[in-house]
């Protein structure tokens, strides 16, 4: 490049691109962690948002979190097995993401509303909802069919990112209802949590949700489980900066938490939700985690990632570290661990039995619930359908 040739320098820079992208590179000072992979407790830590995070759990609360983690993993394994045996059409496993889901799920207060993707079985469990509830969708006998308002847990959303706008609108409604910021009592205000993945952050809907919630100062927490992949595409295909830093550009705080650390995830989510309910607007949480299994049961991850990467994450397992901590601190003994495993197995067996017993819907029900006020057209099509079905009766068809 000739000296003083500014154009050439500019061109060089362009081809070189910005500094090496390290969006997946985790562990700097900006990762909130309260329990190391070895099970060491970190008393308190200051997040990238300047907030000091800590938790103050009783022994039985610690044991409760461990129980959640184990049961949630066991139910997930059972669902994967049910799919393999042809009892579910597909399953989206949460394996590896238990802490992100249990930590955030337990941080919700009863009055809070959750908007899940299709993977939040652990959050659902922590809301006290029967884990059978989403299995109709995966078995193909319904498309959700639960009451989101009753459960404070919206139906699963498969279209990537769409639910973040629904969550934002719901949060705007909370504000309009005057249910925000009235007192410091956490039982008072309501807040919303929107779940989504790293891939989802590229969708227009998600970026619009950020803008809306920021402009309307909505009581919402954007909880991104960065599990490093959107099916086969690594996080580098979605971003060149750590995702949590995007929040700043939209005008609200972002924080990155060790998503395999249930304590840190709880602390960060609790804080963000309470901020929201007290009128301090949205927060984005990036839970740094890893999808240990396939994207869904139809996926083959060996096509796009190596075993060494998976093994490296295996060493950061969300459950092993809690177990190590409980044992080291003598918060739990061998009898407790056995009892939890037994409970997990019992819940899994109950789930299995009830999945097997799920009846197929009557075909004619496919005409039901298209509208509140059913149209003559649907009624006519249903009637013709019934007539047509009846024409096969007795024909051995």
């Amino acid at each position: 490049m000739a000296k003083g040739d500014r154009g050439a320098r500019l061109r060089d820079r362009r081809t070189a691109g910005p500094p090496p992208a390290e969006p997946g590179a985790p562990l700097g000072d900006d990762l909130v962690q309260l329990l190391t992979p070895e099970g060491e407790r970190i008393d308190r830590v200051t997040g990238p948002d300047g907030v000091e995070y800590s938790v103050d759990f009783s022994d039985s609360e610690y044991r409760g979190l461990y129980r959640d983690l184990v049961v949630v993993r066991r139910l997930d394994a059972e669902s994967t097995a049910l799919q393999r045996q042809g009892e579910l059409g597909i399953w989206a496993s949460l394996l590896g993401q238990e802490a992100a889901q249990v930590g955030s799920g337990r941080a919700l207060r009863p009055q809070d509303m959750a908007f899940p993707t299709y993977r939040e079985h652990g959050v659902l469990y922590c809301r006290g909802i029967d884990p059978i509830m989403p299995l109709g969708l995966f078995r193909g006998v319904d498309q959700g069919a639960w009451d989101p308002v009753e459960h404070k847990f919206n139906m699963y959303t498969i279209v990537i990112g769409a639910q973040t706008l629904h969550a934002t609108g719901y949060a705007m409604g909370i504000a309009m209802d005057g249910k925000v910021g009235n007192s410091d009592d956490p039982a008072d205000g309501e807040a919303v949590i929107a779940y989504f993945g790293d891939g989802a952050t590229s969708q227009g809907d998600v970026n619009e949700a950020f803008i809306w919630s920021s402009v309307y100062h909505a009581p919402i927490v954007f909880f991104c489980q960065n599990n490093q992949y959107a099916i086969s595409e690594p996080i580098e295909r979605q971003t060149r900066i750590p995702l949590y830093r995007r929040a700043a550009g939209f005008g609200f705080p972002g924080v990155r938490v060790d998503g395999n650390d249930v304590l840190a995830t709880y602390a960060v989510t609790r804080h963000a939700l309470d901020n929201a309910r007290h009128g301090q607007g949205p927060t984005m949480i990036e839970a740094h985690t890893y999808r240990m299994g396939a994207h869904t049961t139809t996926d083959d991850p060996t096509r796009y990632r190596g075993i060494s990467e998976v093994e490296a994450w295996q060493a950061k397992d969300p459950i092993a570290r809690v177990r190590a901590f409980l044992a080291k601190q003598q918060i739990a003994d061998a009898g407790f661990f056995t009892e939890v495993d037994e409970q997990a197995t019992a819940e899994a067996m109950s789930l299995r039995e009830r999945v097997l017993a799920m009846p197929d819907p009557e075909p004619v029900t496919l005409f039901d619930h298209v509208f509140v006020d059913e149209t003559p057209q649907i009624r006519q099509q249903r009637a013709r359908f019934v007539e047509y079905q009846a024409s096969f009766e007795g024909s051995g068809h």
Partner: protein, 329 residues
Amino acid sequence: MAAKTMTMVKALNAGLRRALEADAKVVIMGEDVGKLGGVFRVTDGLQKDFGENRVLDTPLAESGIVGTAIGLAIRGYRPVCEIQFDGFVYPAYDQIVSQVAKMHYRSQGKLRLPIVIRIPFGGGIGAVEHHSESPEAYFAHTAGLKVVACADPAEAYVMVQQAIACDDPVIFFEPKRRYQEKGEVDLDASLDGARPLFASRVLRQGTDATVLAYGPMVRTALEAAAAAAEDGRSLEIIDLRTLSPLDLGPAYESVKRTGRCVVVHEAPGTIGLGAELAARITEECFYSLEAPVLRVTGYDTPYPTARVEEEFLPDLDRVLDGVDRTFGW
């Protein structure tokens, strides 16, 4: 002639490969199309062989995929976008309908957008919601878009290349439930000698009634014809192939002979493609018709859950029932 037996997935892959070889401006873009080779493996191995500048794993945003394809086309490229499943095309709907469809018109012909948008469509694979839809009417209703649907491996191989060579934007529907069905494909087939992209074809000749189908329903219609033949009824089967523009010359000719016509598609009937077909055939063949043109389609409900989808989808029996009804008129 290098005729080989292969699946539609493999045939599409071979067609895309040939297009990438033939024209350095062809680029493939979509979610998971690179390393994974697409969730259906239609683009398997293409990134490895042609590089990351020709086969792009894009960020997860359909509006982004189609919107940037427009920019690439303005810049002289021929983008081939993959939408992962039918139900995920809607985030790109604005870019397709308001931008892709209109730029040639607005620029008074100065700007060409030779973009192909591939969409696996239709049901019958036992999938969860948004993975089994038939959105073709939305696009066929939009002026400025050409819309085609392939039905078997040999057709898929040729048609995808023709779509890429086409200077107008083409929405290319692939019947995903037929992806793994095999057929003979002539890999050396020259595009010059091939049936034009925007032409229908008579697949089976018959004398008693005409059945019009496209995409996944072509095979269903052929099976219905075989069953009808056993009952002594002769059905003529026409594969429409092109949904916009329509090529109905062969259909008119056929219906004028048979006097009866049944249109089959998976998409809901109301304001669907079948309505347009029935109207046109009625206009052209009015004095030859022995019965109204009947439609055998999905119902006017959202696509139902997997365990009842077989009841929603037209099958052999429903096609035959439709034919029977034209005889009972």
